[in-house]
Amino acid sequence: MLLIYCPYCEEERSELEFRQAGDAHIARPTNMTEMTDEDFEAFFFLRDNVKGLTFERWRHLNGCGRFFNAARDTVSDKFLTTYKAGLPRPDLGTLRPATEATVETYEATESDAK
């Protein structure tokens, strides 16, 4: 189980209190009725589904109830940082993202074995 730092409550809480809420930094279109089908598909259905570092929204559902953003590695599930909604993407240059080599997933250990 993960411990997630809520930037509003300013403490680490159990994963059970949180819900993932999709990709972060996506502007909801204001002209939805005029969009082409291609643009609507790209906004509504298509996903980057990143393997590695991703920026996503989380909600502290069973806590303060507020949405915030997180930078997470989808291979290790490690949260690199969390930050309040509305803030720009943080500079992760100083943060070293977790890589497969540092994590004991099946994938990581298998590729080590190779």
Binding site: M1, L2, E15, L16, R19, Q20, D37, E38, F40, E41, A42, F44, F45, L46, R47, D48, N49, K51, T54, E56, T74, V75, S76, D77, V103, T105, Y106, E107, E110, K114
Partner: protein
């Protein structure tokens, strides 16, 4: 390929089992193939097999970054059924079910398909209405599915607790008698052996790192950690990693990858005669021929490629199993594991051509792809060979997310899927 038979077993028994040959070869990759399949799971190997058997294309490579059948093919709970609500889904899953029946003979490999019945428990009025709707829809599509009273359900599955004081009382069940289980590893091995026998190259430990394109945009081949391999047609059958591979060809997919967990108990004597699923409390369980109880949990709530999952997800499922079957409360669980499943917005698969000429994709099976293995492979082979979909997989396009013609099993199908 030497045929497996009772005579072969007898012959080898007489000479110390020294005559068994390797089930498939591990050749060096050629420079060029007619078709490359990325992913040596059941769906990928099956596609190669049907391309060779039904379409006469044998110059095929199946590339696998890990080991054969080591992805979701070897990580699922081996349940087979076809009682889906919509006509399109009924078409493809029942096509698969018909192929399961006879697959062992077709492949000359015992995949241990056992039509022991899949029973889905109803716990409340809503469940009952939904299941009865399913039963009627299934029957109109010629798929067997029947309603059982709680007493009939217990008769079919004696360990079931149907008392009114149970934590999750049962007011009936839907039963598909043709549903059941199969040995998942044997499915991958059987397809691999039969495909290799027809000249298909199965290349393991070969990770695709790029998809090459011609100046006109069509597919030229793939880059791998074992060098460049050319092909005019490439089929991506990579489950949870489909988005990663399709991104190499510049195609964004309507997929999100989640970990899905399963676990098995210590082996016990035969006690559990069928497969039981419960949507409402989220549990599904069967017993393998080895004697282990095979239990499926739900997906984790967040996307991930970690091939593990949260312990609370497993605990939640075991809570439900212990309430439904109090007899199992003292059992020890032996192993648990996770696989990465690729989930589409409408929870129906994509078996289709892509915007890139010569690139085909078979993905989006979400939490329930194993049951469809033979049917999916069969129609995907047709799609690749003819550069046009079979009528069974024609609705499962990538474009449906643009046109809006979704096959919305999200709410209709069973168990989180």
């Amino acid at each position: 390929m030497r045929k497996y038979s009772v005579f072969a077993v007898a012959r080898e028994a007489m000479r110390g089992h020294r005559g068994w040959e390797a089930q498939w070869t591990s050749p060096e990759p050629r420079k060029e193939y007619d078709v490359i399949i990325i992913g040596a799971g059941g769906h990928g190997l099956g596609t190669a097999y049907y391309l060779a058997k039904e379409h006469g294309i044998t110059n095929i490579a199946v590339l696998e970054k890990g080991w054969l059948g080591g992805g979701n093919t070897g990580r699922n709970t081996t349940i087979i059924r076809s009682n889906y609500l919509y006509d399109e889904s009924a078409g493809i899953y029942d096509h698969a079910l018909k192929l399961w029946d006879g697959l062992s003979q077709d492949l000359n490999y015992n995949v241990m398909y056992s039509a022991r019945g899949v029973m889905m428990l109803s716990h409340n009025v809503h469940d009952q209405q939904v299941f009865k709707r399913h039963i009627h829809a299934n029957r109109l599509n010629g798929i067997d599915n029947e309603w059982l009273t709680p007493e009939q359900a217990q008769e079919f599955c004696p360990p079931l607790d149907i008392s009114r004081t149970a934590r999750y009382p049962i007011n009936g069940a839907a039963l598909q008698r043709r549903g059941g289980t199969a040995r998942h590893d044997a499915v991958a091995w059987g397809y691999a052996r039969a495909a290799a026998d027809r000249g298909v190259h199965i290349i393991q430990n070969c990770e695709v790192t790029g998809i090459r394109r011609n100046p006109d945009g069509s597919v030229a081949g793939v880059d791998t950690n074992r060098g460049q391999i050319n092909a005019k047609k490439v089929g991506v059958v990579a489950a949870g990693h489909t988005s990663v591979l399709m991104e190499m060809a510049g195609v964004r997919m309507p997929l999100v990858s989640y970990p899905l967990q399963a676990l098995v108990s210590e082996p016990i004597k035969p006690i559990f005669p069928c497969v039981v699923m419960s949507n409402t409390v989220h549990a599904y369980i069967s017993q393998s021929d080895k004697g282990e109880l095979v239990i499926g949990a739900g997906t984790d709530q967040y996307s991930s490629y970690s091939q593990t999952g949260g312990l609370q997800i497993i605990t939640h499922t075991l809570d439900a199993i212990c309430e439904l079957f109090p007899i199992f409360r003292r059992m020890k669980m032996m192993r648990s594991w996770g696989g990465i499943v690729d989930v589409t917005p409408d929870r129906s698969p994509i078996l289709a051509k892509t915007p890139v000429q010569g690139l085909y994709v078979n993905c989006g099976w979400g939490t329930g792809g194993f049951k469809a293995t033979p049917g999916s492979a069969n129609v995907f082979a047709h799609t690749i060979a003819n550069d046009a979909p079979h009528k069974i997989n024609a609705p499962f396009t990538l474009e449906r997310f643009r046109s809006g013609r979704l096959i919305d099993e999200a709410a209709a199908a069973a168990v989180a899927h």
